[in-house]
Symmetry: C2
């Protein structure tokens, strides 16, 4: 029996392998993802941990952050103790390792770099933490982690922020973000609590009681929800969501369709609201070339919904997080710029 | 020591006490309220039970409805077994005692009477059940019980449904209803899941985590929420609710103010949506004389919110339920009309 060395297949030999130049951390509420990058931003190795900042194995005061950091990145640092470390996400929140106060919009990478805070681990390693971004006003908005993904998207798409009304980047999820970017800056952004509201309505109101769970995604029911929000949503979300129940009561929506319909309604109201705020600057979703950052299945749902609003160019940006961390590390001088240029 | 007979004080002697003429039941999901009325609709006695249709002491198939009915109304029927019985509310739903199929809008008392169903108790008493009302369309709406309260409000306010664009009646609550009434009919109505959505957001999303419970109602925070929905709510509810958190993060809203602010936001979005659908018929809340049906504290909140929308005439209609049941019983011939006319 022939033994096949699979590692030789998945790791093709390179003429000359670039050395590690950065440890990049995406440290959020529920997970930590760590990347070992070379100076050009190529990913040499990755680690993942479920030890998000709300899920540490021991309290922060007892070295919880240090323990997770050592377990995740210790082997990389054992080979090269001088590797710079850059982290983004909720690790910089008031509940994180060290608070990195928000930077205000409009925000560019230089502003983020100026706001970086440094924490020294028990073993003497300096961890640089990227600040989040705040947009103040009657409805303040905050992000932590998404700013880094947005600059990652800009780093890989040079024309995105050169559009007449600015580029538009959507980050679907629990708290969906929509950012307007222009000339390398985050100009403004909006938060929609779409994912979390969907879960609360499904799991904790009467709407969930007539739903039947299914593995099958019902695209027609989803689109119907989007269209209802778009075309019949004048009375607002509090009114339209009740149709999830009444369409069931009147035999027009099956129990296994109701969750997808409700999801479509909420995403439809999100896009309708986004269109309203874009209209203030004579912009609109119809005909817009925008970008999405997020998991493939969710971005695919948003593409279907965006198409109902006339937007047919909404590609997903891959690897936005590690590209953003690399971009900020370059700006911060953590990686020599000359080294990057030669790779 | 002198013994005071308090019953003589609380039940003043009447020249001639009218005999009971109707047992009127308001039987909802979580409670049953029973009224013993004379032919003029005056309340002679009341009973209350927590045995709503979802809270029966034993299953319906084992006589749960009969048991609750006997315990609540048995003494009244022992005195006069011929008393007619009329019930409204979820008791007529598919999960109730006997389903009374919905009557379609526009609906008047005659249509409700034509839709009454009759169930005979194990002891041979006929219970008449008022049907709910359905408004069909892309966003179907249903009510059960509110139709009876609405006709109760019309019975006590002769000019309400004679306004140019129809009268408007609001029933705040878990699922708030707003009905347009004209010439003695419910023309159309809307449902807003305001109360239930508020509870789901407060208890099951991140918004509740920074709230501090308090017994004190913070009117300023509530009004601020209403105004934000009205003046800065273009992006929609999914966007504005996040400000409950971010105004806290930026020190502009105290933890004990956040629940009232969120309540104001939701009620503000409800009224904003209502204004949008009223605008289709060149109507608006501003300057409107409308009526509210519901508990005093909640109606008071709505009055403050309505004032921000320019509506300063929104009195609460008292006793709408028993008046509505009396009105429908008259129409159904359960009480002789001549008897009522002489009282």
């Amino acid at each position: 029996m022939t033994r096949i060395d699979t590692s030789a297949e998945t790791q093709p030999a390179r003429a000359e392998k670039a050395p590690p130049a950065l440890i990049a951390l995406d440290w959020g509420t529920t997970a930590l993802r760590a990347y070992l990058l070379d100076a050009s931003g190529a990913v040499l190795d990755t680690r993942a941990s479920s030890a998000g900042i709300m899920n540490l194995p021991k309290p922060a005061a007892e070295g919880g952050f240090d323990a997770v950091f050592d377990a995740t990145c210790g082997a990389w640092l054992a080979n090269d103790a001088s590797l710079p470390v850059l982290a983004a996400g909720m690790v910089g929140s008031a509940q994180g390792w060290l608070e990195a106060p928000y930077v205000s919009t409009p925000a560019d990478p230089a502003a983020l770099v100026a706001g970086i805070v440094r924490v020294t681990t028990l073993k003497g390693v300096t961890v640089h933490i990227v600040p989040g971004v705040l947009e103040d006003g009657a409805l303040p908005n905050v992000m932590r982690g998404e700013e880094t993904q947005i600059f990652g998207a800009l780093a890989s798409d040079a024309t995105l922020d050169q559009q007449p009304h600015g580029g538009l980047i959507g980050l679907p999820g629990t708290h969906a973000k929509w950012a307007v970017v222009s000339k390398g800056r985050i100009e403004r952004f909006y938060t929609f609590m779409t994912g979390e509201t969907f879960a609360a309505l499904r799991d904790h109101t009467i709407l969930g009681r007539t739903m039947r769970a299914t593995d099958k995604h019902d695209l027609d029911a989803f689109i119907r929800g989007v269209d209802t929000a778009k075309n019949d949503g004048d009375a607002g979300l509090l009114a339209t969501i009740f149709s999830t129940r009444t369409l069931g009561l009147t035999g027009q929506l099956q129990p296994e369709q109701q969750a997808d319909y409700l999801s479509g309604l909420l995403i439809g109201h999100e896009l309708r609201g986004l269109n309203e705020v874009l209209a203030r600057e004579q912009a609109e979703l119809a005909g817009k070339a925008l970008r999405l950052i997020g998991n493939d299945a969710l971005c695919e749902r948003y593409r279907y919904a965006l198409a109902r609003f006339g937007c047919h160019d909404a590609r997903t940006v891959a690897h936005a997080t590690e590209r953003g961390l690399h971009r900020i590390a370059l700006q911060a001088g953590l990686i020599p710029a000359s080294s990057s240029a030669t790779n």
